[in-house]
């Protein structure tokens, strides 16, 4: 099948993918290189961290040699790049000796689970509230919905998390206080409160943005026309208004999601979850270079994937974004 411009769909997709790769690879390369050199600029010796306060200078020197840290910076960089390109692995952990790729793949699911659940909950919180506020503009509901997120934005994530633990886990016992349980349904039950904490902290700007967009769209001519044509209000709102208003909020959501992928540290700590965030924190403290580099690469890849996916979904949402070539 060809479009009016004469190029096949397959060719267009191939071009789009090619452009994507051309955009993405330099970004990831830049991130990984920057992290590599920045880590080594920061003071602190991985060998000394592994061996502790009372390690002798000889044992530290021996460990540095064993870990290849006594090589020149350039040699270390070349070895590192080779490994990234050929094995898609940033090296073995200086602390545990395990492959960084394996460590990340083992820890990523639980952190990604929090992110996905948080996004879902954020949408479930933000959309109804924003709709309600927009449809009842300047009513008392609208005022309440506008004030609550402002309070929410002032509350740090760890505080929200602790409150949720105290209420729903300690007092009511509906959820575990922390960690990820095993057994049927347990992982979901364990991740619910952390995801809710993130969602509650993410939703205030989403509610405000969506409310503003909805009010604008509700005042548009086409909505008046639809109502005049006696289309049911529910259909007007869900099928036409929401879709027309969603784009800026959707963009905001996807930016937040991308940021969240590497940013689950606080919620993991508060809820005792051993995910990528915890791994990142311990690796930075230990100066475990390969793992920090690996997580940086993982975050770069994740951000690219999320923004690309968001771009595709945006085009589906709003046909005006599907540029005909």
């Amino acid at each position: 099948m060809t479009t009016t411009s004469g190029r096949s769909t397959a060719a267009r997709v191939a071009t789009a993918l090619g452009l994507l790769v051309a955009r993405v690879v330099p970004v990831m390369f830049g991130v990984v290189v920057a992290v590599f050199f920045l880590l080594r600029l920061v003071p602190g010796d991985p060998a000394a961290m592994i061996l502790g306060d009372r390690a002798t200078p000889e044992s530290i020197a021996a460990l540095r040699a064993e870990l290849g840290l006594d090589q020149t910076l350039w040699n270390q960089f070349v070895a590192f790049l080779t490994q990234v390109v050929t094995q898609f692995d940033t090296g073995d952990s200086l602390v545990t000796g395990q492959s960084t790729r394996d460590m990340i793949l083992a820890k990523a699911p639980v952190s990604l689970g929090i992110v996905l659940l948080a996004v879902l909950l954020a949408v479930l919180i933000a959309v109804p509230l924003a709709l309600l506020a927009a449809l009842r503009k300047d009513g008392w509901i609208d005022h309440v919905i506008r004030v609550l997120p402002t309070i929410g934005m002032g509350m740090p994530l760890f505080w929200i998390g602790l409150l949720l633990i105290i209420l729903f886990a300690v007092e009511l016992g509906w959820f575990p206080v922390g960690d990820v349980g095993t057994g049927p349904g347990e992982p979901l039950r364990s991740l619910f409160l952390p995801a809710l904490a993130v969602a509650l902290s993410m939703s205030p700007p989403l509610i405000r943005s969506l409310r503003t967009q909805l009010i604008e769209v509700l005042g548009a001519d086409f909505v008046t026309t639809l109502r005049a044509a006696r289309i049911p209000e529910r259909r007007v709102v869900t099928r036409h208004v929401l879709r027309g208003a969603a784009l800026p909020t959707f963009t905001l959501l996807s930016v937040n999601t991308a940021y969240l992928i590497g940013g689950t540290l606080v919620v993991e700590k508060v809820f005792g979850i051993n995910g990528i965030g915890t791994l990142l924190f311990t690796s930075i403290s230990n100066r475990d270079f390969p793992v920090v580099q690996g997580i940086a690469l993982y975050c770069a890849v994740a951000v690219v994937l999320v923004t690309t996916l968001a771009g595709v979904l945006s085009a589906l949402l709003d046909p005006r974004l599907r540029v005909a070539r």
Binding site: P43, G44, D45, R54, T96, V170, S285
Partner: protein
Amino acid sequence: MITSRLRQRPRLFAIAAAALSAALVLSACSGGSAPEPTESTDPVSGGTLVFGRTAAVNDLDLNQQITANNAFAIDKIFEPLVNFDENGEIIPWLAEYTENADGTEYVFMLREGLKFSDGTDVTPADVIFSLNRHLEVGGPLPLTAPIVSIEETAEREVTITLESAYTPFLSELSGFSNGIFPANFGGMEEGEFFRNPVGTGPFVVSEWDLTGDLVFVKNEHYWQEGKPYIDELVYKFVADDTQLRQQLGAGQLDAIDIVPAANAADVDEADETVLLQTPGWSTEQVFFNTQRKQFADENVRRAIAHAIDREGIAAATTFGTAEVANVLIPTNVAYSANGEGFDLAYDLEAAAEELAKSDYPDGFSITLMVPSGNSQRAQIAQIIQESLGQIGIDVTIESLDIAVFRERFREYDYDFMLNSGQLDSPDPNGFITFQADPEGFSKSYWTHYTDDRVTELMHEGRVTPEGAEREAIYFEIQQILAEQVPYIPLFFPANLKATTADVHDFVVLPNASVRFQDVWLSGE
């Protein structure tokens, strides 16, 4: 209307009466027939104990480790010939022992029927291999005794000969780094062996996530009859100490490794948790870099010692859980002179006098280095800053990430710092050496302090047999250190751990390790 209500009332009345009768019957049943459960003192076998810790286990090579996260997993797998109990007394463990008159020969007789966790017998060859490997590797806790030979001298008998008497020898041998393992690593390659270690200890590694949890199962061949009581021990990695307490309170954990002093009272008072507070083997101190001109001056150091209210600091920052330190050696260690009055008392006038005698009578500006992420040390630093301000010393607090903190003090790039010293085994020699030996790699815990009399006494203390003479030596060392204050001991932190009410005989050793083979769970 009225008639329908009357018709309803009898029905309601009947329901209420029935409910009340049922309640009375039930309460009579439960109150009368079932007795209150009495505190059982006999250990019960079985169950899984989940122990929450804030660091994961990443290496089980016993000769190369010193940090607590690994050490206290290692000592569940490997055991030394002799050990120490919760009072710091040396006791026979894998072997009974005798010592000759001049302290140069120790004969160890291995217990009969002693086996490794894989069922093979423990032989003198294993002891020889293990100790020689430690001597070869050196490691952060090396065997410093002047060992000449380690030989099999009879069936189940190993004789260790020293070049000269070395009083701390058995104490050194009792450390976890001198655990016994199979000769030639049981036929495995060395790295492979330490990923699947075999020892005589009460537990065997079953599952191991190097950045997460470690699961032990009981060693079916353990030499202590009936022990360990628990079937499974899980070292659960929980990065945050608030989460540790919350999970303990909710019953997700059976015991936790750390209770911050600020939360000790709450944990103690809560119904579902039990606080365990035991004396430890560490000393929180202010260390002076004596290479700085201000701190090369003894009068300055003495002035600062007089200006610091150690009792106040211990009360405020440890919430009364720690004991005030008047000398370097903790009170539960042999030859501690804590009650001898050697310390420089809190006295601002005396502080001012000392400063007046120094080269800096008008005070000076200086920086106190502390590791970040430790709220207790942050508070101590602030109190010290405030205290020294009163005698004209203007302190800036520099709070650094732990890796940078370590790098700075190891390069002697600091003025003074807050840190702590720690014993790993009962004898004070190792501790004193680390803190006062100018020949040691740490150059007296990175203070660069040296005193010829202290050095002389240190050497004497190693060869003097236990008794009054040795006590006099260590007393004199502590007195000189207290007078010259290359470091100011502040307090001896307690070991603070917690368990649920179902955990019994949770024996905590002074080095903060837990004797898990003695622990049992009720309510299983």
